[in-house]
C-alpha cells in the first residue's frame, strides 16, 4: 500500500469513526435534543420532497452569489495587485489598505455595506471581499517571485519593461495565482453564506437562520454540512486545476 493510499484510508477511517460516534450520541440523545444523529438527519431531510427542493434552491442561490463574487473579487484583487506592481510607489499603501480592510470584522462593516448594496447584494459582496483579498495577496507576491537568474537573463538579453512583464513576471505569477484561487474559491462560498445572514431573500445562509429560529435541528445540520462540502469541493476543485496547470510553470 502506497503512503498516499494509506493516508487517505486513515482519513476516511477517522471520518467514519467520528460519524458513528456522533450518530450514537444523537440516537441515544446523550447531548440533548440539539444534537442530531447525522445519518438520520440526512435521510429525513433528503427523503422529504419539500425540504430537499428547499435545500437545492438555497444551494443554487448561494452558488450563484459565490460564483459572481469570486469572479468579481478575483478580477478586482488581481487588478489592484497588478497596479501595485506597475507603480511601486502605490505598493506599500495598497498592502496596508488591503490588510486593514481584511482585518476589520465583517460585523462592523456590515451596516455600511448594507447601506451600499442593500441586503440582497450582501452575499455577493462578502464573497467578493474574501476572494478579492486572497487574489490581491496572491497577485502582489506572485509578480515579484521571479527567479533571480531568470531576471538576470532578461537584463542581459536587453528585454524592455513590457517584455519583462509579459514574458517573465506574469508567467512567474501563475503558480501563486492558482494557489490564491484555491483559497479564494472556498472563501467565496463561506463569504456568500455569511453575507446571506444580513437579509438575503434565499440561500443556504437564510435557510440556516430560519431553521435555527424554528428549531429544525436536522435541517440546520444538513444545511451546514452542505455549505462545508461545497466549500471543500471548491477548494479541491481548484487544487486539481492547480496541480494540472501549475506544474507547467515551475
Amino acid at each position: 500500500m502506497s503512503p498516499r493510499t494509506k493516508r487517505v484510508l486513515l482519513g476516511l477511517l477517522g471520518a467514519a469513526v467520528l460519524l458513528v460516534v456522533a450518530e450514537i450520541i444523537g440516537r441515544l440523545g446523550l447531548a440533548g435534543r440539539a444534537w442530531p444523529a447525522p445519518i438520520e438527519a440526512l435521510v429525513t431531510v433528503l427523503g422529504n420532497e419539500l425540504s430537499r427542493s428547499l435545500l437545492l434552491r438555497a444551494l443554487g442561490a448561494t452558488l450563484l452569489s459565490a460564483g459572481i463574487g469570486l469572479v468579481a473579487g478575483a478580477l478586482v484583487g488581481m487588478a489592484v495587485g497588478f497596479l501595485g506592481f506597475l507603480i511601486p510607489a502605490l505598493r506599500a499603501g495598497l498592502d496596508q489598505m488591503a490588510s486593514i480592510l481584511n482585518t476589520i470584522p465583517l460585523i462592523a462593516l456590515a451596516p455600511l455595506l448594507i447601506a451600499l448594496v442593500g441586503p440582497q447584494g450582501m452575499a455577493t459582496l462578502t464573497a467578493a471581499l474574501g476572494s478579492g483579498f486572497a487574489m490581491f495577496v496572491a497577485t502582489a507576491s506572485g509578480l515579484v517571485s521571479t527567479a533571480p537568474a531568470l531576471a538576470d537573463f532578461f537584463s542581459v538579453a536587453g528585454a524592455s519593461r513590457p517584455q519583462r512583464i509579459l514574458r517573465l513576471s506574469l508567467p512567474s505569477a501563475v503558480p501563486s495565482l492558482l494557489n490564491g484561487l484555491t483559497l479564494a474559491a472556498s472563501g467565496a462560498v463561506l463569504g456568500a453564506v455569511l453575507g446571506e445572514w444580513f437579509g438575503a431573500p434565499v440561500g443556504l445562509g437564510v435557510l440556516m437562520i430560519s431553521s435555527m429560529q424554528n428549531f429544525q435541528v436536522e435541517l440546520l445540520f444538513v444545511v451546514a454540512l452542505t455549505a462545508a462540502l461545497v466549500s471543500l469541493a471548491a477548494f479541491y476543485g481548484m487544487a486539481a486545476v492547480q496541480a494540472v496547470v501549475g506544474k507547467r510553470f515551475v
Binding site: 538579453a157 524592455s160 514574458r167 517573465l168
Partner: protein
C-alpha cells in the same frame, strides 16, 4: 593577439555593506580578451571572477576604471542584444519548450524568429529531438546545453559563461566540456568562461587568467598552446596535466 574585444582598465568594484563600511571585491583589475578568443577566469570562490563577468554583462557597474566591449559600454551592447550569457543555473523559462527558449532572444530583440538558426543550434548542442520538451523533462546537462544554445541564438559579439557546468556531476561535466569545445570550434565566438575548476579552464580556453581573493585581483596569465587537439584526447596528454598541476599548485599556495 589581433583586435581586442573586451578590455578592463584598472577596474575596481566595491559593494556598500552597512553604513560607511564597504567591501572591495575587485582592485585594479586590467585584462584584455581578443576577438574570437576563449579566455577562462580561474580562481577560488570570493575572488570576484563572477563579478567581472557580471560587469561585462552589464549587470553590475565598475566602481572605477574603464570596461569596454568592442569599444562600447556593456549597456549599449545589451540594448542592441549583442551579448549571450549562460549561468550556472540554466535560467530556462519553465513554461517554454526548448525550441521556444532558444527562440526567446529573437522575440526580446523584436526580430523575426530564424527557425533555421534554431534548428541548427539544437542540432549543434545535440537537442534536436528534444525541441518540444520542457526544461523539467531534461537532465541537468541537457538544460545547460539548451542554455548555451539560447546564448548563441543571435550570434552574439561576446559569449559569457558563468560556471555553466558547476552544478553537474564530474562525469557529465567532462562530457559537457568536450561538447562545449566542439560547439566553440563551430561558432568561434569571443568567450569568457568563469570557473573554479582548473582542468575545465585549461581544457577549454586559449588563455587562463588566474585571480586571487581579498581583494580580487589578477595574479597570473597563461597563454595555452597545446600541440594536441581538444577533442582528440588533450585531457589525457602529459603537457595538459603539467599545466593543470602548475596552476593547481598556484591556487593552493
Amino acid at each position: 593577439m589581433s583586435a581586442r574585444a573586451i578590455t578592463l582598465d584598472r577596474v575596481e568594484k566595491t559593494f556598500a555593506l552597512k553604513r560607511r563600511t564597504s567591501f572591495t571585491a575587485l582592485r585594479d583589475v586590467s585584462l584584455e580578451v581578443g576577438v574570437g578568443e576563449f579566455v577562462a577566469l580561474l580562481g577560488p570562490s570570493g575572488c570576484g571572477k563572477s563579478t567581472i563577468l557580471r560587469m561585462i554583462a552589464g549587470l553590475e557597474l565598475p566602481s572605477s576604471g574603464v570596461l569596454r566591449v568592442n569599444g562600447r559600454k556593456p549597456a549599449d551592447l545589451v540594448r542592441d542584444h549583442r551579448l549571450g550569457v549562460a549561468f550556472q543555473d540554466h535560467a530556462l523559462l519553465p513554461w517554454l519548450t526548448v525550441a521556444q527558449n532558444v527562440a526567446l532572444p529573437f522575440h526580446l530583440a523584436r526580430r523575426p524568429v530564424d527557425e533555421a538558426r534554431i534548428s541548427e543550434l539544437l542540432q549543434l548542442v545535440g537537442l534536436a529531438s528534444f525541441r518540444d520538451a520542457y526544461p523539467r523533462q531534461l537532465s541537468g546537462g541537457m538544460r545547460q546545453r539548451a542554455s548555451i544554445a539560447r546564448a548563441l541564438a543571435l550570434r552574439p559579439e561576446v559569449l559569457l559563461l558563468d560556471e555553466p557546468f558547476g552544478a553537474l556531476d564530474a562525469v557529465t561535466r567532462r562530457r559537457m566540456n568536450l561538447e562545449l569545445a566542439r560547439i566553440w570550434e563551430e561558432e568561434r565566438t569571443t568567450t569568457v568562461l568563469v570557473t573554479h575548476d582548473v582542468e575545465e579552464a585549461v581544457f577549454l580556453s586559449q588563455r587562463v587568467i588566474v585571480l586571487e581573493a581579498n581583494p580580487g585581483r589578477v595574479r597570473h596569465e597563461e597563454a595555452l598552446a597545446f600541440s594536441r587537439n581538444r577533442v582528440d584526447g588533450l585531457d589525457r596528454s602529459d603537457e595538459f596535466h603539467h599545466v593543470v598541476d602548475r596552476l593547481t599548485r598556484m591556487l593552493d599556495s
